[in-house]
């Protein structure tokens, strides 16, 4: 009763305008705007129509639809493909568990990935690579994800185990994909055979995960009061930032190989990953340093006054605030890194883009379809970049709500 009365007394803000009003205000607010609307609206519709017609009837998607596996994993031996499947399922399982435990952003990712797999599994097309075995595999991966969800949601599995799982799965995955020497069942698959999205993800995810802590360390290093540490960090950061990524890739892939004896030569893919990592770390370091400088001195004094030492002050007070301040910049940095991995083509690694190019070049017939292939690849890159962008915005807004800073 009392509450109802109170609700009636509240002065409400003006309501947003309805659709008709919105159109009037935004599209027909003046004679000039009305003319623009009348001219542009049909034009846009017509262009859209042309695009749809081309996609459905004009374009020939054969160069894309014939090689889904090639795009996904490159030349990875087809008789060893279960290893890729196993690793992928492992990731989906972890994603399922995390979805069950933390929901939020992970829920969106899991649902998007799951529906995509489901879509492919039931796609009503004849494709030799999308046979019954593959469809059953995709279906069971969805089931594995759901089992993971139930485990995460219903059991009292410790959070630490889930986080540990996220560290274990990639390591186990890479080892399994690489194989063991002298093993009958899991023979070595040399990285020259790896390719496609597998390599793109490996370089991007590996680059992000490795460059972030390195970037944090360099950022602190550059601010260090020890001249050796700050000098080294500054030289490293400025040295790397002054060089194009292409040059770094060449340096790591050729020069590093020249100086090391043949038997201790680092794997080609690892060298590319090292180049991508140091490049990204140098840029992240400067972003993070900006965030560190934005933390008010009063915060550090308050922590110190409570008896916290330098290390605890950094971990609990400085770093969380600094990272939150620079999250958009770092997310942008990582999206750029994801797209920059395409440069490994020039050192002969067949990432997603490289596979597309080699398909085009493999047959005169496919040369005619290069537009379709490039558009397909652009869309794939866009989808993943946009997902990263969405993820960063989601993380930002959760942080914003919690703090209201």
């Amino acid at each position: 009763m009392a509450i109802k009365e109170m609700e009636q007394d509240i002065v409400r803000p003006p309501q947003p305008p309805g659709l008709v009003k919105w159109i009037k205000e935004n599209l027909f607010s003046s004679v000039f705007n009305s003319i623009l609307t009348v001219l542009l609206f049909p034009t846009i519709l017509y262009l859209l129509y042309l695009v749809i017609i081309w996609v459905l009837f004009g374009a020939n998607w054969k160069a894309v639809s014939q090689f889904p596996l090639l795009f996904a994993i490159g030349q990875y031996p087809r008789d060893q493909i279960w290893r890729v499947g196993f690793v992928f399922s492992g990731f989906m399982f972890m994603l399922g568990i995390s979805w069950g435990r933390w929901s939020g952003l992970l829920r969106s990712i899991a649902l998007a990935a799951g529906s995509f797999l489901l879509l492919i599994a039931v796609l009503p097309v004849q494709n030799p690579q999308l046979d019954m075995t593959m469809r059953i595999y995709l279906g069971s991966t969805i089931l594995i994800t759901l089992v993971g969800y139930l485990i995460g949601n219903k059991t009292r599995l410790k959070n630490a185990f889930i986080i540990a799982g996220w560290f274990v799965i990639p390591i186990v995955g890479v080892v399994l994909l690489a194989g063991f020497e002298n093993s009958e069942r899991i023979p070595v698959v040399h990285t020259t055979l790896w390719g496609g999205l597998l390599v793109t993800f490996l370089l991007a995810a590996g680059g992000i995960v490795l460059s972030f802590p390195l970037g944090v360390a360099l950022a602190f290093g550059r601010r260090s009061s020890l001249p050796v540490v700050s000098g080294f960090s500054t030289v490293f950061i400025e040295g790397i930032r002054g060089v194009p990524l292409v040059t770094l890739l060449f340096m790591f892939s050729i020069i590093l190989a020249l100086f090391l004896p043949v038997e201790s030569r680092i794997d080609r893919l690892v060298r590319a990953l090292m180049a991508v990592t140091v490049f990204s770390a140098a840029y992240s370091a400067e972003n993070i340093r900006g965030g560190l400088q934005a933390v008010p001195l009063g915060q550090i004094e308050a922590a110190k006054a409570l008896g916290m030492g330098n290390f605890k002050t950094t971990v609990f007070i400085v770093l969380p605030q600094a990272l939150r301040a620079v999250l958009p910049a770092i997310a942008g940095q990582f999206i750029a890194l994801f797209k920059d991995t395409t440069l490994v083509v020039i050192i002969g690694i067949n990432d997603f883009l490289g596979i597309g190019r080699s398909i085009i070049n493999s047959d005169p017939e496919f040369v005619q379809m290069r537009t379709e292939v490039y558009i397909f690849m652009a869309v794939v890159y866009w989808i993943f970049s946009y997902m990263m962008s969405l993820a960063s915005r989601r993380i930002e807004s959760t942080m914003g709500i919690e703090s209201n800073l």
């Binding site: 008010p296 009063g298 004094e301 008896g307 609990f316 969380p320 209201n404």
Partner: protein, 247 residues
Amino acid sequence: MSEEPIIHCSGVHKWFDEFHALRGIDMDVYEGEVIVIFGPSGSGKSTFIRTINRLEEHQQGDISVDGIELSHDVRNIELIRMETGMVFQQFNLFPHLSVIQNITLAPIWVRNWPKEKAEDKAMELLTLVGIPEQALKFPGNLSGGQQQRVAIARALAMEPKIMLFDEPTSALDPEMIKEVLDAMIDLAKSGMTMIVVTHEMGFAREVADRMYFFDEGLIVETGTPDEIYNNPQEDRTKLFLSQILQH
């Protein structure tokens, strides 16, 4: 007062580059005393209170807190900081942590208390300062007065023997000053040793045992509130008091 002073300062000098901010400060504070320091801005009063827990380093003279000599030894500095709580003019709450996390952080990670114990203590202190219902909010959602009371609770959670207040009400809107002062008065009456830099003369009159007037890095005059207000000896003290008491 026969026992040893809990804070002993003698001949404390401090320079900021060429600027001589503290020019030989002597002060002994005994357990349970409430000391009010006042003076014009730039007189060194904030600098002095910050040397006690080594947020500022003094270059000459001796400071010891609860028998611990303040030196370059990092362990000594951290020990003293555990014994002294500090409340700042700008609150300095941690914006990325909730109120309860702000209060429990140091007890859990510095005193190594179990989480439950720290949280019980935090709720007890929030009740003491009158805002237990704000425990799960973030500092950005609180008023200035509430934030400063959380800051007091945060400092008290470490169970310090001494509380330092560096102009705790200067950044507050007038209507919020009273709620913070009330919490400080309660604390003073509970027997806490306090050093307060403030111009709140009503507060000083009510709970201060001794007052110190600082000017140009020196203690110009000291005495009980009664002596300072009713019978100031120095001209500078008289002038300053007439200026701040005019309003």
